[in-house]
Structure formats: structure tokens, C-alpha cells
């Protein structure tokens, strides 16, 4: 316990040291960019440190080139201006660079090379991988990580999964939000209960509900039996439907919270004015509520689409332990199998890039056609 705490503290201290070094580096560049000695001194110090710490002349020369470019940028472009914003943003930007930009660049590198089980050894020894051009991307479109489902069927299934889930999330969330937006007794209690599926860890929620879909002992079939209906083998015969039902249950609370927030921000005056003009409840919903909810709903739907499209948790937890059926697999769960069952890392990297591009294109189209980023009050 004590050792773990010390390790955490050491890690925090390391991060602090790193941030302090970065701030010192920026401070020197802001404070001394106009001194004559600045350029040669900064290049010499950075190159010397890099060569010394990395024990490599090549590293020293590379660091000198990079530092010369940075120093020139500070001398001719920044010229000591905006020092506070730069210094405040620097740690965050560096963190993003390390955690997002670097892995992304590495993924692109992997997609154009050939890393798999049989080339790992070569890679770990030489640090190089054979360049294969677009071969991995061709494989993505012409083969499938699954045995029984083609890539294009997977795409269609994933689109269907996303549309049905997000559609039901929005519809369910909207109905519940409308109900909770009224003056009813115990509204806070209802809201708390309704948010529980979203608030609890997804793994727990999915596994709990998966048990309820068991053909013999699950709550769902027990209820069906009470109604005189035959039991359904949900997990075996209808895994995709089961995953969808579970994911709908999990996703509605998020949409409900978002829509409720949007509803509560709409001024009552609009409804009062509409009522005076004789607008029906449906007309108020159509001409006031829905347009004014758009700025809230459009980003929420975009986020919901991205999350649902990439939702491996529900598929994996529901089907991964039920006989390994492929009947519920979507693109990301198939990608997981390619990467971690068959160790086809480069193929998986290309697959992931294709999925990202599909999502990017769909999101841009949606934002454009829904005009969700435009103001409704302007």
C-alpha cells in the first residue's frame, strides 16, 4: 500500500517537474528572445542536453535543428507577446500531443506497414517494419475480421445499430424529459431513479441486465411467462436485439438529462404567448420546443452517434461470454477481434482509420444538414 502511494507521489512529482521544465523553457524564450546570444545559446544548450541524455550525436543534431526552428519562431513571430496564454496552454497542448497526436501518427504509420505476430520480433529488434503502401486498406474493404459477416454487412449493421439506438435514446429521453419538466410530486426522486443506469459503471449495468435476459432464470422471461408467453432465448437466438435493448436502456438517461436541461432553459413566455394566440400543445411542441431544443440536441445526437457507433462494451459483454456469436458484432467489436485475437495490428490500424473517416464524414454531414451549430435566437 505504502509502496503504491509512494509510486503515485513520485509520478505526480515527475509530471510537476516536467511541467516546470516546460514553463522554464517557455519563460526563457519569452524573456530573452531579443538578446543577441539567445539563438546560439538555446541551440547549444538543447542540442548538448539531448546528445548527453540520449547518448547520441544524431539526436543532438536533430534537437539542434528543432530548437533553431522554435527559437526563430519566438524571435520573428511571437516576439515576446501573449506570454501568459502560451504558458498556460502549453502543458495542456503538450499533454494532448503526447496522448492523442502521437498515437494517431503512430497508428497511421502502422496502417502503412506490416505489424503482426510474426513481425513483432523483427520490429522489436530492428525498430523497423516493411512498408506496404495501401495494402492494409485494400484488405479492410476486401476481407473481414469475422468468419461469417463481410465488411460491408458489418458497415450496414453498424449504421442500423447506431440509427436505431440513437433514435430510441432521443425518443425515450424526450418523452421522459417532457414528463419530468412538468410540476409533479417527487420529480427529484423519479429523476434520480431514471439516471441510475447511466450513472453506474457500464460493465456492472450491462452484466446485470445480461443476466435478466437469460432464457431460464432471467427477469424478462419470468415476466413473459407470467403473461402466458413462451420463453425467448434472447442471448442465443437474438443477440443483436438483446444488445440493442440493453444499450437503449443504458442510453436514454443521458439524452433525458440533456433534453431536460434544454427544456428548462426555454422561457415560459414563448408558451404563454403561443397559448394566447390559441396554439395547441402539439403546435407548441413543433414550433417552440423542438426548434429551441436544436442547439442542445444536435451536439448531443452527434455525440450519441459517435459513442454508439464505437460502443464495444455492450456487444463484448453480452455476446463475448455467450458462445462467441458473430450475429451481434459491429465494426468496432470486429476490429477488436482482429487486433487482439489475431494480432493483426497493422490491419487493425487501417481498419480503425477507416472507421474514424466514416464517423468524421457522417458527423460533418449531420452537422451540416441539421444546422445544429446555428443559433435559433439570431
Amino acid at each position: 500500500m505504502m509502496t503504491s502511494m509512494l509510486q503515485v507521489l513520485q509520478f505526480v512529482a515527475l509530471i510537476a517537474a516536467f511541467v516546470a521544465l516546460l514553463e522554464l523553457y517557455l519563460h526563457v524564450h519569452f524573456a530573452h528572445h531579443d538578446e543577441r546570444w539567445f539563438l546560439p545559446a538555446s541551440v547549444t544548450v538543447v542540442a548538448g542536453l539531448a546528445a548527453l541524455l540520449g547518448r547520441s550525436l544524431v539526436l543532438g543534431v536533430s534537437a539542434a535543428i528543432v530548437e533553431a526552428a522554435v527559437a526563430l519562431f519566438f524571435i520573428h513571430v511571437v516576439r515576446g507577446r501573449h506570454s501568459l496564454p502560451f504558458m498556460l496552454l502549453a502543458p495542456g497542448l503538450l499533454g494532448l500531443g503526447l496522448l492523442i497526436v502521437y498515437p494517431l501518427c503512430f497508428e497511421v504509420y502502422l496502417a502503412f506497414t506490416d505489424l503482426k505476430l510474426t513481425t513483432i520480433l523483427q520490429w522489436s529488434r530492428t525498430g523497423t517494419l516493411p512498408f506496404v503502401g495501401f495494402k492494409q486498406f485494400v484488405k479492410v474493404f476486401t476481407s473481414s475480421p469475422l468468419s461469417e459477416v463481410t465488411f460491408w454487412r458489418l458497415v450496414l449493421r453498424t449504421v442500423g445499430w447506431t440509427v436505431v439506438n440513437v433514435g430510441l435514446h432521443v425518443a425515450g429521453g424526450f418523452v421522459l424529459a417532457l414528463l419530468l419538466n412538468r410540476d409533479i410530486r417527487g420529480r427529484g426522486i423519479y429523476r434520480t431513479f431514471l439516471v441510475i443506469p447511466w450513472a453506474m459503471p457500464q460493465v456492472v449495468a450491462v452484466l446485470a441486465l445480461r443476466g435478466e435476459f437469460h432464457s431460464q432464470f432471467g427477469f424478462v422471461n419470468v415476466m413473459l411467462a407470467r403473461l402466458g408467453l413462451a420463453p425467448v432465448e434472447w442471448l442465443t437466438l437474438h443477440p443483436f436485439l438483446t444488445c440493442t435493448l440493453i444499450n437503449v436502456w443504458l442510453g436514454i438517461p443521458f439524452m433525458m438529462v440533456i433534453i431536460l436541461g434544454g427544456l428548462q432553459s426555454i422561457s415560459r413566455h414563448y408558451y404563454d404567448a403561443a397559448a394566447i394566440d390559441g396554439a395547441s400543445a402539439f403546435q407548441q411542441l413543433r414550433h417552440i420546443t423542438l426548434p429551441l431544443l436544436k442547439p442542445v440536441l444536435a451536439p448531443a445526437v452527434t455525440l450519441g452517434c459517435v459513442w454508439t457507433f464505437n460502443n464495444i462494451n455492450v456487444i463484448y459483454l453480452v455476446t463475448g461470454q455467450a458462445g462467441g456469436t458473430e450475429d451481434a458484432d459491429i465494426l468496432v467489436s470486429a476490429l477488436y477481434k482482429a487486433a487482439f485475437t489475431y494480432y493483426r495490428y497493422s490491419y487493425s490500424a487501417a481498419f480503425a482509420i477507416v472507421i474514424s473517416l466514416i464517423l468524421l464524414g457522417a458527423s460533418l454531414l449531420w452537422m451540416r444538414f441539421s444546422k445544429g451549430t446555428e443559433s435559433v435566437y439570431g
Binding site: 513520485q10 512529482a13 515527475l14 510537476a16 517537474a17 516546470a20 521544465l21 514553463e23 522554464l24 519563460h27 503482426k116 505476430l117 510474426t118 513483432i120 520480433l121 520490429w123 522489436s124 529488434r125 476481407s143 468468419s147 461469417e148 437469460h214 432464457s215 431460464q216 432464470f217 432465448e233 442471448l235 442465443t236 437466438l237 461470454q321 455467450a322 458462445g323 462467441g324 456469436t325 458473430e326 477481434k337 487482439f340 485475437t341 489475431y342 494480432y343 493483426r344
Partner: protein
């Protein structure tokens, strides 16, 4: 400003400072395992005992637990990053992957492998090299029965069915036995009983009569004889047995201690009954738990690890392991001990091992498992016939192996 910056920077930089150390001389041993929680106290006790041995001054053993699949992913990731643990404690089936990737080292020449049971050593050999040191023997399926519901074990499947009929009638059971039908590992004993095996050398052998017959056998159990529930995963079959809703379960030796705690003397263990139609014993896959050594190990650190592994698998600790965990020892001399010979459960477990077959550790086996799994599920729900499924399994396995190698 500068002073403030320096005041902040200096203590932080001090935290980066660490004494210069030679990795091979380090006395910190990192072990990753995937054992059940019930096994952990035993592991820790042996590790602590090693730390106190003369010559182990300053040695610390850090044990980290992962689930099976996580252990594999984490070890691959850590090895790629160049910072793997020193030792793994894991079954043999992943050794093929690790050895092909070059992440573990062969142990030939480092240990006297002739001291261990021959089959358990053979189960970890590939391409003429041995990739791990056995800790225990088994990891195999066998028959467990609840003596209250069925007082004795069947010798063959015909006897099993008649015992089942009696138990179901007498105790008003819905089902007689719990079988994890969706998992190919549970199918393998029957494939063997029909005279087949899923991998011949490194080539899948799935579109075969034994494979078709074994799937038909499961269908018969579920639909004709109605002895086993159709939709039941591992947790489900385990729960059915523990809750005394079935008389028999086929499960692995890892469950012995749990079932013993639950049923005490009411637990019966036996070989999976002989298949009456062929007269052959079912052949569960047999492997064991192994120490696998990171390929990064060398020098003093390697010698320290050798000492630890030898200590962990010495006769005294192997017998202790038998008593504490009810696992068959890997060391030949410990297998001859009274603790094994006099315990009826271990005796039956050993008898099951003797009719089992070593689990293939070739990387191709991964493709074979994944080719069987979805099609076996389709056969069980009768959306594919055993003939269609076997043919497709073969095609899929060959295709997946081709893709892995491509």
C-alpha cells in the same frame, strides 16, 4: 519570477533522480499471474518464504494479478514497450504466441526438466524447445457429481444416462447435467472420444467425422435426452451445480477447491464417462500452469529467477501446493507422494489426466478455437447442421491462419 520558478523546479527535479542501477543486478522480481483469488494467499506465502531464504537478502517479489485475457494483452503490450514482467504464471496455451513474438525465452538448459512429469513438459514444447517450467499438472476437464443426487460415478455414458434418469425422477430435477455447450474447450473430450483432434501438427482437422459426431452427441443430450440446458454459459452451469439443480457437471480441476468447500464429503470426482458407442475415453485437453521467463532476462537477474522457480517447484512446495490448492503437482517425485496417492479426488484427477491429451500450443490453435466457437453456437441452436458447421469451421480456420501469416 525566476526565483519562484527555480524553487518549484529544484525539488521536482530531485524526484527524477534515482540511483544508478544495473538492471541485471536488480533484486526486484515482477511476477504477473491470473490465478483465482483463493490461490493468492498460497502464492504470496511461497514468495515471502523465498524472500527470507539465505542468499535472498534484499529480494522483493511484486505480484500483479490479471484476468486471463488481460494478462495476455498486457504482457504483449509491455513486451512491445520493452518493459515486460520477469515472470508469468499462466497456462500453456498462450506460450505459442509469446514464443513466436520472441517475448519469452526457452528454458532448456536453465532447468532440469527431467524432474517434471513428461506429458506436462511436452505440453509446453514447440519447435523443439521448451517454453515454460511446469508448476502444476492438469488444467483439465473432469466429471464432478453431487453424491446426494447421484451416489456414484458412471463408468460409461449408458450408465450415466440411466443414473441421470433416476436422479431426475427421484429429485425432481429439471436437468441432470450442466455442460458449457458454447465453449469449444468443452467439446474436445468428445472429439477425442470419437477418435479425432482439432489440430494435426499445425493444420486444422475440423471437417472430420469425429467433429461431426461430437456435435451430434451434444445435440442428442440437449434435444433428444433433454439432460442438459441449452442456454447456459460458464457461470450458469457452475451456479446450477452449486445450487444442486443438477447432479453432474463437467468442469476443470480449477474448481475442485471451490466445490469441496461447498459440498465437503458430498462431492464426487471421476473421469468423464467412457463413450459407450466407441468404447473410448473422452480426452480433455491437458496442460497445467507454467512459469514463463521474459526474453529480457539475463545475468544475475536470470540466475535469481532460476533460484525462485526452482524453489517454487521443489518437492516440499509441490506437496504443499497439493494440500493447499488440490492441484496435481508437476514434479514427478511429488506426484508419487502420499498426499496425491491417498486423496481420492486427486487420484481421480490424475486418472483423468492420464487419458487426456496435451493442449496444442501452436498459434494456429487460436484460429481453430475462433472458427469452432460461432459455428458450435449455431449447431446448438440448430441453425446449422453438424455437417455444414464442420465444413465451414475448417474453411474459416484455414482462412484465419492464412490471414495471420499473410
Amino acid at each position: 519570477m525566476r526565483r519562484a520558478l527555480l524553487l518549484f523546479l529544484l525539488p521536482s527535479l530531485c524526484s527524477c533522480a534515482r540511483p544508478k542501477e544495473d538492471a541485471s543486478l536488480s533484486k526486484r522480481i515482477v511476477v504477473w499471474e491470473q490465478e483465482d483469488a483463493a490461490v493468492v494467499p498460497y502464492l504470496d506465502a511461497v514468495f515471502r518464504a523465498f524472500e527470507k531464504l539465505p542468499g535472498s537478502e534484499g529480494v522483493t517479489i511484486e505480484r500483479t494479478h490479471y484476468h486471463m485475457e488481460d494478462l495476455k494483452q498486457q504482457f504483449l503490450t509491455a513486451s512491445i514497450a520493452g518493459n515486460p514482467p520477469d515472470l508469468l504464471m499462466t497456462p500453456s496455451d498462450t506460450a505459442g504466441v509469446y514464443s513466436v513474438a520472441g517475448f519469452i525465452r526457452p528454458v532448456d538448459g536453465l532447468f532440469d526438466l527431467s524432474r517434471y512429469n513428461k506429458p506436462v513438459v511436452e505440453a509446453i514444447q514447440m519447435n523443439g524447445k521448451t517454453w515454460g517450467v511446469p508448476i502444476s499438472n492438469g488444467n483439465h476437464l473432469m466429471l464432478f457429481y453431487n453424491k446426494r443426487l447421484s451416489p456414484k460415478a458412471p463408468q460409461d455414458t449408458d450408465e450415466w444416462f440411466s443414473m441421470c434418469a433416476a436422479a431426475v425422477k427421484r429429485h425432481k430435477l429439471e436437468h441432470c447435467m450442466a455442460l458449457f455447450l458454447g465453449e469449444p474447450f468443452w467439446l474436445m473430450p468428445w472429439v477425442g472420444a470419437y477418435g479425432g483432434w482439432p489440430l494435426e501438427g499445425r493444420t486444422p482437422a475440423l471437417d472430420t467425422q469425429p467433429m461431426r459426431d461430437s456435435m451430434r452427441w451434444l445435440l442428442d443430450l440437449v434435444y433428444e435426452k433433454k439432460l442438459a440446458p441449452r442456454e447456459c454459459d460458464y457461470n450458469c452451469v457452475d451456479a446450477l451445480f452449486k445450487e444442486e439443480k443438477v447432479a453432474f457437471i463437467i468442469n476443470g480441476d480449477w474448481a475442485i477447491s471451490t466445490y469441496q468447500d461447498k459440498f465437503k464429503s458430498g462431492l464426487g470426482v471421476a473421469k468423464i464417462p467412457k463413450l459407450s458407442s466407441t468404447g473410448r475415453w473422452p480426452t480433455p485437453m491437458v496442460s497445467g500452469k507454467y512459469f514463463m521467463l521474459s526474453s529480457k532476462l539475463q545475468g544475475e537477474k536470470l540466475r535469481l529467477i532460476q533460484r525462485l522457480v526452482e524453489f517454487y517447484t521443489n518437492e516440499e512446495n509441490q506437496v504443499r501446493q497439493v494440500k493447499s490448492l488440490m492441484r496435481l503437482p508437476a514434479l514427478s517425485s511429488a506426484a508419487e507422494s502420499e498426499a496425491v496417492k491417498t486423496d481420492p479426488i486427486l487420484r481421480e484427477s490424475m486418472a483423468q489426466v492420464l487419458v487426456g491429451k496435451p493442449m496444442p500450443m501452436a498459434t494456429e490453435m487460436r484460429a481453430v478455437w475462433d472458427a469452432i466457437r460461432p459455428l458450435l453456437a449455431r449447431v446448438i441452436i440448430r441453425t446449422a447442421t453438424p455437417e455444414e458447421a464442420a465444413a465451414k469451421m475448417q474453411r474459416d480456420a484455414v482462412e484465419k491462419i492464412r490471414e495471420m501469416d499473410e
